[in-house]
C-alpha cells in the first residue's frame, strides 16, 4: 500500500473545499501533481500545497492508496467526498461533509467531524472516533432520500437529524443524539447507545431504530407492540430488554418502521 501524508500548514480562516483529498483523485499522480490539485477557498481557486505539505505519492490504483492527514482540519470541507476505494485517515478533527456521497473505501476520523458527514452515502465505512455534527448520513436539503448503504460508526455523540431520509445501510452511535434522528427513514438500521431528545423516527415508514438509552420525548405516532429481550437485527445483537414500537402512524396507517427503546431507561413511556 502506498501512502500520501498531508500535513496541515497552520490556521485556515475561510473554510477550504477540498473534495480532491480522495484516493481516486490521488491515484497515479506524483507528489508534485498532488500538490497542484485545485481547492477552493471562498471564491478563490488555490492549490492543495497552499494548505498542506504533501509527502509520498499514491500508487496507480485507488484501492491500494492510503491518505493520512496528520493533524486537525476542522476547516477543511468535503474530505473524501464521493470516495470509491482506498483509505483516508484523519489524525484529528475533520470539517463538514467528510465522506459525503461516499461509495466505497474507508475513512477514519480520529477526532470530531463537522455536519453532513456521510451525507447520502452509498457504501464504504466512515468511522468517527469523536463527536459528529448535524445531518450525519442525512439526505441533502430538500431531498427525501438519504443514505443508501455503507456504515457510519460514531464513538461519541451526534447532533440532530442523524440519518434523515435513510434508505439503507447502518449508523451506530456510541453516545447520544439530539433531535429528529431517523426522520423520514424508510430502510436501514440506526443504533444509538446513549439517549435521544425527541422526534426519534418521525415520519419513518420503514427500517429499524434502536435507542439503548432514554428517549426524552417519544414521537406521538408510535405504538408499543410489546417487549423483546436481547433482540437481534440482522447481524446486530442488542443486550437488555427493549420496548418495541411501530410507527410512524402520523405518516401512514400501515407503517413499517420499528423502534426499540430500552425498557429500563424509558419506564414512564
Amino acid at each position: 500500500m502506498s501512502e500520501v501524508v498531508l500535513k496541515p500548514k497552520g490556521i485556515i480562516d475561510i473554510m477550504v473545499e477540498a473534495e480532491v483529498i480522495n484516493p481516486d483523485v490521488f491515484a497515479g499522480k506524483t507528489t508534485s501533481e498532488i500538490e497542484q490539485l485545485i481547492v477552493w477557498q471562498g471564491a478563490k481557486q488555490l492549490q492543495l500545497c497552499d494548505f498542506f505539505d504533501v509527502e509520498g505519492s499514491a500508487g496507480s490504483s485507488a484501492t491500494d492508496a492510503k491518505i493520512i492527514v496528520r493533524g486537525n482540519v476542522p476547516r477543511v470541507k468535503h474530505i473524501g467526498h464521493g470516495i470509491k476505494a482506498g483509505e483516508i485517515v484523519i489524525e484529528g478533527s475533520a470539517g463538514m461533509h467528510v465522506g459525503s456521497e461516499m461509495i466505497g473505501g474507508s475513512i477514519l476520523v480520529k477526532g470530531d467531524a463537522g455536519s453532513w458527514a456521510g451525507m447520502e452515502m452509498k457504501g464504504g465505512t466512515l468511522h468517527i472516533t469523536g463527536n459528529a455534527g448535524d445531518h450525519v448520513g442525512c439526505a441533502y436539503r430538500g431531498s427525501w432520500r438519504g443514505m443508501y448503504g455503507g456504515r457510519i460508526l460514531i464513538d461519541g455523540n451526534a447532533r440532530s437529524q442523524l440519518g434523515g431520509g435513510m434508505s439503507g445501510g447502518e449508523i451506530h452511535v456510541g453516545g447520544s443524539v439530539e433531535n429528529f434522528p431517523g426522520i423520514r427513514m424508510n430502510n436501514g438500521l440506526i443504533v444509538v447507545k446513549g439517549d435521544a431528545i425527541r422526534g426519534v423516527g418521525a415520519q419513518m415508514s420503514g427500517g429499524t431504530f434502536v435507542v439503548s438509552g432514554k428517549i426524552k420525548q417519544l414521537s406521538p405516532g408510535f405504538e408499543s407492540i410489546g417487549t423483546e429481550k436481547d433482540p437481534k437485527i440482522g447481524e446486530t445483537v442488542l443486550t437488555g430488554e427493549f420496548i418495541k414500537f411501530t410507527g410512524d402512524y402520523a405518516l401512514s396507517k400501515t407503517p413499517k418502521g420499528i423502534l426499540y427503546a430500552s425498557k429500563d431507561a424509558n419506564e414512564e413511556v
Binding site: 439526505a139 441533502y140 436539503r141 430538500g142 431531498s143 427525501w144 405518516l251
Partner: protein
C-alpha cells in the same frame, strides 16, 4: 456587417413554405430574412457553410413554464434540484443552477443551445405579472411573451354571467395592455375559483361554481368569443377541467367541442409574409399539455390511455390544436394554475407541495415529482404523450412540448423527437418500462416514424402559427426574423434506428442564429443578445372601457394592493414588441 449572413448549401426544412429538405441558401440582412443579398451586403456578410447539415427556422416553444412566481416557487422548494446541476460562469455567460427548474440564465442558454429562439411562458397570473416580466427580462437571448390567466377571473366570470360579452372583452383588452400579456390562458375554468372554497368542478361542464354560478362551459365559450371578438394573435389556450384524473379525456373532448361554432378572426395590425401555407391560425382553441387531459379508465387500477378519444376528435375537426405535454421519465416539478389538480397529486404521492390563492384572479400549485419507468401509470403517461403526436394525422394540429417542467424539463425535447422519429427508440423504451405502456395504450401498434419535415412543423412552424407569431417566426420567408437553426446531421443519411444520433444532433445545434447573429455553436454560447418581449395591445371602444373600469375600481377593494400599483410599468419590459390588435380604422388613416 452585424446581422447579415449567408447560410450556404444546407438541407432546408421550412414547412410554412413547403420546403422539405431542399438544398438552398438562406440570406439574412440586418437581422431579417431576405430573398437575396447583393453587392456590399453580400461581400461583408458572414458566411456559414451548412453543406451536409439540416437547416430549420429557429425553434418556437409555445408552452413552457419559465418565468414568474410559481416557477420561482419551484426553484425555492427544491434545493435538491440545484446542487448537482450547476453551471459555471463563463466569459460572457452567467453562472446558474437547476435541472427541472433552472435559473433564468441557464434556461436562456439551454434553449439557445437546442436551437430555440422564442419561448412563451404558459401562465401569468395578472397579480404576478411584474415578477413574470422581471424573469423574462433577465432571461438571455430568447424572445418571450406570456399568456394571461383569465379563466377564473372575477370580472370575466361576472360579465359573462351577465351576458355582457363586450364589457368582458373590454376588460380582457385592458388587462392585456395593463400587464403586457400576449394571449388568453384559461385554466380549469370555474374550478380554480371553487378551489378557493376547498372544492373543484369535476361532475360536468354544466356544474355552476360557487358564488358566481357560472359553468365551465359558459367560461370556455365566453372566453373564446371574447378572443375572436378582439381578434387576438393566438386562440384561447385551454387547460381543461378534471386534469390528471382517470377518465378525464371525456371532459376534455367535450370542452374542445364548445368553441366549435366560434368564428376564428385574427385581427392583428401586422404585415403577413407571403408563405405558401397561410401563416394565420385557423383554430379557435389550443389545448395545453393534452397528455394530462387524456387519461382513460375510471380509477388508478383500470387506468389506461384515453388518447384515442382526443385524437379521433382532433382528427375529424379543424378548430383544435394541441400540444402534447410529453413525459420523458425522470425528475420533474409539477406546477400549474390548477390548484386542485396539484392537491390531488399531493394526496396521491405525499410529496412536498405548495398551493397559492391569487385573490380575485386564479391560483396555483407546485409539487416535486419523479416519473419512474417501473411505475405503471407513469409508463402509460409516457405512451399517451407520444400517441397524441403520432396518431393525429395532420401534424399542423400538434405541437411538441413537455409542459416544462411538468412532464419533464425542456432539455429532454431531443429524446421526445427520437421517440416520434424512431419506432426502435419506442420499442427499446417499452422493454425498459412497465408493461402498462404497451398494454394500456395503442402506442405499440403504431409504426409511424415522423420525418424532419414533421419535426420542423411540431417545433417551429406550428407553434408559431398557433400563437400568431408567424408574421415573424417559424419560417424563412423574406421579412421574417433572422432566426435559423443548423443541426449537425445530414438528413439524407439519417437513420431512424440509430436514434442516439438524433438525440445528440438535437441536443446541441451546430449553429443557433438569432436576428442574424450566432448565439450558440455546438453547445457553446457565442453571444447573449437581449430578447424581445411580445405582448398584445387590443383596442375596444373608449366608452366601454370607462364603464368597465368603474366596475374594476369598485371591486378593487377586495384586492390587497392599490389600483395604482396594479399595472406593470414600462420599465419592466425588455425590448417591448407590442402587437396592435383590433386597431380602429381611423388611426390607420391618420398614420
Amino acid at each position: 456587417m452585424p446581422g447579415t449572413m449567408v447560410i450556404r448549401n444546407g438541407y432546408v426544412f421550412d414547412p410554412l413554405n413547403e420546403i422539405d429538405g431542399e438544398i438552398k441558401d438562406i440570406f439574412i440582412k440586418d437581422g431579417k430574412i431576405v430573398d437575396d443579398l447583393k453587392g456590399n451586403s453580400l461581400r461583408d456578410a458572414k458566411v456559414i457553410d451548412a453543406m451536409g447539415k439540416t437547416v430549420m427556422p429557429g425553434g418556437v416553444d409555445s408552452h413552457s413554464h419559465v418565468a414568474g412566481a410559481k416557477v420561482n416557487g419551484g426553484r425555492m422548494m427544491c434545493p435538491e434540484d440545484r446542487y448537482k446541476w450547476v453551471t459555471k460562469k463563463g466569459e460572457i455567460t452567467h453562472s446558474g443552477s437547476g435541472n427541472t427548474v433552472p435559473s433564468v440564465y441557464v434556461q436562456g442558454y439551454d434553449y439557445a443551445k437546442m436551437g430555440y429562439t422564442t419561448v412563451f411562458e404558459a401562465a401569468m397570473p395578472p397579480m404576478e405579472a411584474r415578477h413574470t416580466h422581471e424573469e423574462m427580462r433577465s432571461t438571455p437571448i430568447l424572445d418571450m411573451g406570456a399568456y394571461l390567466v383569465l379563466g377564473n377571473n372575477w370580472f370575466i366570470m361576472r360579465y359573462l354571467k351577465e351576458g355582457n360579452i363586450e364589457k368582458a372583452a373590454a376588460y380582457a383588452a385592458w388587462m392585456m395592455k395593463t400587464h403586457k400579456a400576449y394571449g388568453i390562458k384559461c385554466v380549469n375554468p370555474a374550478g380554480v375559483e371553487n378551489w378557493g372554497w376547498g372544492v373543484d368542478v369535476t361532475e360536468s361542464l354544466d356544474e355552476p361554481n360557487i358564488h358566481f354560478g357560472i359553468t365551465p362551459r359558459e367560461i370556455i365559450h365566453g372566453l373564446t368569443e371574447i378572443n375572436e371578438l378582439l381578434g387576438m394573435p393566438m386562440s384561447v389556450h385551454l387547460h381543461a377541467n378534471n386534469l390528471g384524473n382517470p377518465g378525464c379525456w371525456e371532459v376534455t373532448k367535450n370542452s374542445l367541442e364548445i368553441p366549435r361554432d366560434v368564428k376564428v378572426k385574427c385581427n392583428m395590425d401586422v404585415e403577413w409574409p407571403k408563405t405558401k401555407i397561410d401563416p394565420q391560425r385557423n383554430q379557435s382553441v389550443y389545448l395545453a399539455h393534452a397528455q394530462f387531459n387524456s387519461f382513460g379508465g375510471t380509477s388508478w387500477r383500470d387506468f389506461e390511455s384515453g388518447a384515442k378519444g382526443i385524437v379521433d376528435y382532433v382528427n375529424k375537426t379543424d378548430h383544435v390544436v394541441i400540444d402534447n405535454g410529453a413525459v420523458p421519465f425522470g425528475p420533474a416539478t409539477v406546477m400549474t394554475g390548477d390548484g386542485p389538480a396539484i392537491h390531488h397529486l399531493y394526496k396521491l404521492t405525499g410529496n412536498k407541495w405548495s398551493n397559492k390563492d391569487v385573490e380575485l384572479e386564479c391560483g396555483s400549485g407546485i409539487l416535486s415529482f419523479n416519473y419512474m419507468k417501473a411505475n405503471p401509470v407513469h409508463s402509460a403517461q409516457w405512451a399517451i404523450g407520444l400517441e397524441l403526436l403520432l396518431l393525429v394525422n395532420d401534424p399542423w394540429k400538434t405541437i411538441l412540448t413537455t409542459d416544462h417542467p411538468n412532464g419533464g424539463p425542456f432539455t429532454k425535447y431531443p429524446q421526445i423527437i427520437a421517440w416520434i422519429m424512431s419506432q426502435k427508440a419506442r420499442e427499446d423504451t417499452f422493454a425498459e418500462c412497465h408493461k402498462w405502456a404497451q398494454d394500456r395504450s395503442s402506442l405499440g401498434g403504431c409504426d409511424r416514424e415522423m420525418t424532419l419535415y414533421d419535426i420542423a412543423i411540431l417545433t417551429r412552424a406550428n407553434p408559431a402559427r398557433t400563437v400568431g407569431i408567424a408574421h415573424r417566426k417559424g419560417h424563412l420567408t423574406a421579412g421574417a426574423d433572422g432566426d435559423v437553426t443548423i443541426y449537425d446531421f445530414d438528413p439524407t443519411k439519417l437513420e431512424a434506428n440509430n436514434y442516439t444520433n438524433i438525440i445528440k444532433g438535437f441536443q446541441n445545434a451546430a449553429f443557433t442564429i438569432k436576428d442574424g447573429e450566432v448565439v450558440a455553436q455546438n453547445g457553446q454560447i457565442i453571444s447573449v443578445p437581449k430578447g424581445r418581449t411580445f405582448f398584445s395591445e387590443p383596442h375596444m371602444g373608449d366608452g366601454l372601457e370607462k364603464e368597465m373600469l368603474k366596475d374594476v375600481k369598485e371591486w378593487f377593494k377586495y384586492y390587497t394592493l392599490g389600483f395604482a400599483n396594479y399595472p406593470v410599468p414600462d420599465k419592466y419590459i425588455r425590448n417591448p414588441s407590442p402587437v396592435q390588435v383590433n386597431k380602429p380604422l381611423e388611426s390607420i388613416v391618420v398614420r
